[in-house]
Symmetry: D2
Subunit: 400 residues, 4 copies
């Protein structure tokens, strides 16, 4: 049936004015980094359920990431988290990853799990704590160089729980001083990705609370510093695709942490709560890929796509595959928007026509396209089925 | 100075038409239950910081609660949590509490920390899990009888993370069946308090997601079942005092879990984020205490006030005292609303006049009143200072 | 191409275990009422843009509704709003509608546009205003009988803007007294649909603020009173499909006002902001249509589907058609969920499997199905194109 | 009683370490601009209730503003709105204001009430509309020069209602081009205040949706462009005082539009929904007034405080007085925070101590202070009473 389905799909898209060769080239270029911590047990503040098969070491996490890549062909890199993935030999870790066909992606420092950080890390009023935090960041830059990573991905839990608790303006200055020191150590090609978050674990103010604060910080640091958008880190109702478009226009969008949320930072499977939002994010990216400003095009092409979800009640490896498939699905749909149709409707200020041009792409069933694309690239047409057929799940569960 | 301050305060309130004897009688009747778990370490999903002095056993928790009561005179009961406060001799626990001048308050079952409950407790599709959950509830009823508690306080973490995960309507039926079995075991004077929560730890749907679902469940169980309002369990913008007023009108408001939030269920010190909201809640309660319907008056008088906060970065015992003081402060202010002034303004549809009558009470400084009230009742005028002066903090820290 | 597309679609659904005959029967049964006011100019508080062609009289509105029905075949009824559609001869209005192949749907009283209602209608502290409001409701019951409508659809703007402004509990009683009087006048087959709203135009408290208050009111009135869910009337993050499922389980869901929102009560084209949410609402309805409780099945079958959107910047008639098509699309997708697949996954507590069973239906492209269904029923395969081809837009614009 | 009350207050503050002379000097420096449009009828999209006495002409609005200033002594300027306050002789308008003891404050262009602006003003895809919008802005610069205003206050309703409707990134460029042209015409001392808004009247994306977009635009325009914070223009939960502190640190906070909200942009009486939030905003400002960076101090001292509320159901002039009094009240409380107490608690990372230092200032009753301050400045101790005693309300109502 696949052939017939694809033939029909192709014809339909041709009628819609879509060149599927370009679509497939774009799909081929899509690389999604998976996070090492997504293969280990995670939970809520109420309970971390242990899953049989959860990865326990950096090496097991790489094993799992390799399986996800084998099934999907879309996940050639794995992000690491220090100290969760600390080893005494990072070159070995890198070699292990490469032996599995992976590279090490972003290096993620941890500045929230040691007692000293209760009142902040790079914003702490105590200079010794800021020193310790900065040293950890510098250590991560070194690790990045060793493992061949091109990105330092920074999320700060820093903030306060009560009015008056700390000097808000001064903390901005302290953070900038620390990050400037770290920025100076980056190799020319490296990126510093700066994440923001609306709240949690700080419940009154978060030092980098929104894209504006991350953007302003990145601007002060220099061109290698960029903003990282975690799709779960916004206020209710925030138009994330607008922020994405805006940052692309400013040439400061560095990457994504993809996950889903309905309420807080729920860290659910990507695209599971509001798939249209994910599609609209990709629509803005695809639109930027065609911008007349080459700088915008380059920025869009260089986006680092990363998954950052927390599997509390679902089996980890297939949940990660599900996220990857959902990302591919919405990206593929975004590629089916006919830009000329949108442009013409916008020019005649035809609201219904422009909305239709975008939404109708979302309504396409890209199953036949993705199956054909995968087969043409030597991949299983149904990656999830391939995973279940692989017997890997049994191997995982044997871990205990 | 206190005397002069109080004299001036008294004169001012007399001019405002307030009878301070009634105010003091109401203050005297205010009993606030503190939670045993509030004296132990708590945290966010990112980190539980250990505090030197955090209570480690049910007995240490009672010690701490007794100190809070000694300082404030307002906290004669301590809520317990099973299994966190499990002992092999509940009569002993009760006796220990009583020896410290306390009684055991609400018994709080835990239906979220065992692996079986990953997919729900009394709503679990697996009948054996529902049985286990119901048995735990029944055990808690027995414990309540043994410790002399008048209330079973129920919070369910039950819910789902994804569309389709479980049959929503069927789970309502399962929960009702379980609770009916538990309800049947209550002694005549006991209350079953049913809490609701907007989200977390379930991130798609929570089986008791709002007051309406808790209220409907309580109504089906019978008159001893009532709704418990946790002030941190609502959607952003929800008018909590409206819900309070509504439930009082329906004679189904059983009690409160007080805490503060700005974002999610942040569990901060009571009254620290939006003191006016706490005041307005008490304004509705005070208004109900004067209802012409005796049933509404009784309902308001019988409210169980409980604190449920999580001290992540603050010292636990003084944070609890702070919450108690904030509750007293806002309750005292609510008692300073002149009901006749409000009524007359409402009758002439004078928006500004009615708003003024309520807000102006909030603007009073009730410090002199509370100090005088405490001294008259043999309590320290400044409970927080009394705590720091008591040397108890050093004792606590010696726990390690 | 349509035939090939449909053939492929049919084969695919057969493989997914879906019986398309049942799907088409359900589609055929779907009747969506359009609102007369949706054909007239509407706006925000900042500006009502006039549209050339906006309907100016009840008769023009019926003309427009008839066009929507002619194009879609799904909109046999038009809701009216009193006094916006006031005439001196309702029998004539009915006859006019019937001559156009329509029936008059729900009658919507207006209790917010006269100066007397500034402080409330059925909750007003002034008994004369409550009388006036009740009389208007009674008038609307009479009109409903005259025009052959089976439903009185009640939305109250009643509420307050400031704390203390009005006696919250007393207003509940006043509203109940008024509605009891109105309820008593309903013919046996008539329904009273009670709508709730989170906020606006009242900005402190709304007397019927959520489903729980509407549900409780309906319960006190009697079996002919039911809850109406407007999809734009909830707090951010509220799980609307959960509320829908819950009300169906309680046999109290009477109908919908469909529209879209991203922020407040934005009243945008149905399904335009979050199509997955609309799909999930229909998934719960379709699930209820198969409940083992006949009462739940009947309740689901009898839902009154109504559109209530406000076209501020878009052409009105095609915007209405777009909303109708979006409703049909998401309903059709919901019918493609394989209930057995969901049930089995739920029973084995397979989160990923259950989620997949639901989401995969959403990912189907139902275009071929709807085109085939329409053609089989003598309707244009593409209703929007049919509208533009009809020349009706030119006629409309001639209205000025 | 006032004297005794003040004496006690003074003693108490002395004990708290507060110098009341500095407090009074700061209060004296507080100038709050009232908006001309706040004296005219306003409403929601459902209804604009007419108020007897609502101002109908620019001159009547100035009359009303003069009364507010006479009663409060705090409102020496009135903001105007073009074209609502359009006259053929702006020199005459200025002279009229000056004859009433007022000056003309910010000039507010209107770019949302003409049909051309349905798809945007300075972001419109149609260059002719952008030209028209820019010309209107230039006209307003001229008016500002004529009336002696130092500020152009810009709020744009620009945005879209649906995905795809317009090219988001391009609109940023168009807006910048228009504003650069306007900026170039400013006199050296003039400020361009740029307002942002989360949503409404655009319901999908707003071109300046948050402080970050306004800040970035202001930065690109130059030092005379600054951000204006409207307290009702944020997502639920946004920490406004954090944004205020941040913008002060960046020396880009130009001014405020004060009002209250619980839900959307409700435009209620300032400080009526969450007085603690207003206090915390002022706490950040007062803190910045003492910054060691002279630039930050200057920025804080130069903030333009403006009221922008919409009186839907309340009498306009007294509602404006109420807002002014609430601003003064919270500012006065913020001045009672002992900065040294905060600093020391912050330095020892004493969360409870720092929180107490801030909150305890809020708990003071500043009534005696404000009464004494007013009397010392030849103003009525109770401005609201003075207004009601003035007979002005009767004069107003005579307008019809």
């Amino acid at each position: 049936m696949t052939d017939r389905a694809y033939a029909w799909f192709e014809q339909k898209q041709r009628e819609r004015g879509i060149n599927l060769d370009e679509v497939k080239a774009a799909l081929k270029a899509l690389a999604i980094e998976t996070p090492s911590w997504g293969y280990a047990d995670q939970g809520t503040r109420f309970k971390t359920f242990h899953y049989r098969g959860a990865a326990r070491t950096p090496f097991e996490k790489i094993d799992d990431a390799a399986v996800v890549h084998a099934c999907t062909g879309a996940c050639p890199a794995v992000a690491i988290h220090i100290p969760w993935d600390r080893t005494d030999n990072y070159a070995e870790l890198r070699a292990y990853a490469e032996s599995k066909g992976l590279r090490i992606g972003a290096v993620n420092p941890n500045l929230f799990q040691e007692p000293e950080y209760m009142h902040g890390s790079v914003t702490n009023g105590n200079a010794a704590v800021r020193r310790k935090a900065t040293d950890h960041l510098l250590e991560c830059v070194d690790i990045a160089k060793t493992v061949g990573s091109g990105a330092l991905s920074l999320w700060f839990a820093d903030g306060t729980n009560y009015p008056g608790q700390a000097p808000i303006r001064q903390r901005v200055i302290w953070m900038r001083e620390c990050l400037q020191e770290v920025y100076a150590k980056l190799d020319p090609g490296m990126r510093m990705l700066i994440e923001y978050k609306f709240y949690e674990p700080a419940f009154y103010h978060t030092d980098l609370a929104d894209w504006g604060m991350a953007y302003n910080m990145a601007g002060k640091l220099g061109p290698q510093a960029e903003v990282l958008v975690d799709t779960g880190h916004h206020a209710q109702g925030a138009n994330i695709e607008h922020i994405v478009a805006y940052l692309l226009g400013e040439k400061k969008l560095g990457g994504f942490h993809f996950n889903s949320r309905k309420y807080g930072d729920d860290d659910l499977i990507v695209g599971s709560m509001n798939p249209y939002e994910l599609f609209l994010i990709f629509y803005q990216i695809v639109d930027a890929l065609r911008d007349r400003d080459a700088g915008v095009r380059k920025q869009a092409a260089d986006i680092a796509y990363m998954i950052d979800q927390s599997h509390n009640i679902e089996e980890k490896v297939p949940a990660m595959i599900r996220s990857v498939l959902n990302v591919q699905t919405q990206f593929a749909k975004a590629l089916l928007v006919n830009p000329e149709e949108v442009r013409l409707a916008q020019e005649r200020q035809d609201v219904l026509g422009a909305e239709h041009a975008v939404r109708s792409a979302f309504e396409q069933d890209v199953g036949p396209l993705l199956a054909a694309f995968r087969e043409a690239n030597g991949l299983p047409a149904d990656p999830m089925q391939a995973f279940y057929d692989s017997g890997y799940l049994d191997k995982l569960r044997a871990r205990g």
